[in-house]
């Protein structure tokens, strides 16, 4: 389980985004509030777009904890972009700590981040990999479930050089989860999978907050839309603004205590943000055909009916 952050809007300085809010991602790397275990120090990564240079993003990943990486601090004070992805990692049990395993993962114009785990990953890994064409099979550099999920997404999106619409991006993300759920449903694992994914092509963003068992609380994910990310005297916050200055921030944890600016992404819903910053939230149409969950749901419904 990890923490991540997406920004899309007017160009801002990376250091302002990473370091200067009340509950910044750097603070979340060593004292996150919405995870039981506050440390996210198994490496980090940032990705950003420079459309004037080309459509592919730049990615900087490192194995050191984000909170004491001087290179990140120096670099971020000289990087501006209108689209950032940033991630601090807490490696899941059994997942190797290594630079190859740090998010965001990149392929062509796409960036991908995950907070969660594919339950039963080692039982579905061979089948998942066998479903991939050679170029995607060979593109997997690390060992994480997250990067494998990205390869499934890329396989489903098809031609990565064609520009896809916001809705195509979102629906492909939902389809990716449907594939993972179909594979894991056939394993013996009864624990739920946690899929908080975010993906972008530098134009639109799609993110989901998902858990296989809808009665279980998914990992936290919030968004703030229609405000400007403004910095004054070293402190950054989301403020009211004119239409042209608006941004959308999606984050594992709210960047400020002011709840009125932030909305929780509803469980098992897809959040999409278009190039024009139109935000859409919709229920993910996925039926997990897993008898264990169905039986549990039926049993709960029965016991609820009996207690009424």
């Amino acid at each position: 389980m990890c923490r991540f952050l997406c920004y899309i809007g007017p160009e801002i300085l990376l250091s302002d985004l990473l370091y200067s809010s009340e509950n910044s991602l750097i603070l979340q790397s060593y004292k996150s509030k919405e995870r039981k275990e506050p440390l996210n120090g198994d490496g980090f990564g940032v990705g950003w777009y420079t459309p004037e240079i080309g459509p592919t993003p730049c990615v900087f990943r490192s194995l050191t904890p984000a909170w004491n990486n001087q290179n990140l601090q120096r670099l971020s004070e000289h990087v501006t972009s209108s689209c950032f992805f940033a991630h601090v990692r807490a490696a899941s049990p059994g997942m190797r700590v290594g630079e190859d395993n740090c998010h965001p993962f990149q392929c062509g114009p796409y960036l991908w981040m995950h907070n969660g785990t594919i339950e039963g990953f080692w039982q579905i890994r061979r089948r998942l990999r066998a479903s991939l064409p050679d170029h995607l099979y060979n593109s997997i550099e690390g060992t994480t479930d997250s990067e494998h999920a990205f390869a499934v997404f890329l396989n489903l999106i098809g031609d990565i050089d064609r520009k896809h619409s916001t809705s195509e991006l979102g629906q492909t993300l939902v389809k990716t989860v449907a594939h993972l759920e179909a594979w894991t449903a056939e394993t013996k694992s009864t624990a739920p999978s946690y899929y908080n994914f975010a993906v972008t092509d530098g134009h639109s963003v799609a993110a989901i907050r998902y858990v296989s068992d809808p009665k279980v609380e998914p990992a936290s994910l919030h968004y703030a839309a229609g405000r400007k990310y403004e910095c004054a005297n070293g402190v950054c916050q989301l403020v009211d603004c004119d239409a042209g200055e608006q941004s959308v921030v999606i984050a594992s944890e709210r960047l400020s205590e002011d709840n009125s600016h932030w909305t929780r992404v509803a469980p098992n819903h897809l959040l999409t943000v278009s190039k024009d910053l139109d935000v859409n939230v919709e229920l993910m149409a996925i039926e997990r055909r897993d008898s264990a969950f169905d039986l549990l749901a039926e049993w709960r419904q029965d016991s609820r009916a009996m207690s009424n």
């Binding site: 609380e217 469980p267 749901a297």
Partner: protein, 58 residues
Amino acid sequence: MNSKPTTDPVCGMKLGEGAAKDFLLYEGREYYFCSVGCRAEFERHPEDYAERAQSKTE
């Protein structure tokens, strides 16, 4: 499920007549949800979502 047109307080989705998949009675008010997940989320943070439902009707 039998329900009047309403808005799911968790995801903000408009629910037409009969579209709700789950509901809950909280402090004397009825809340309708698009999914089991949204109902469970409401139960975890009722003060957040009930408040929002209240301020929208005022």
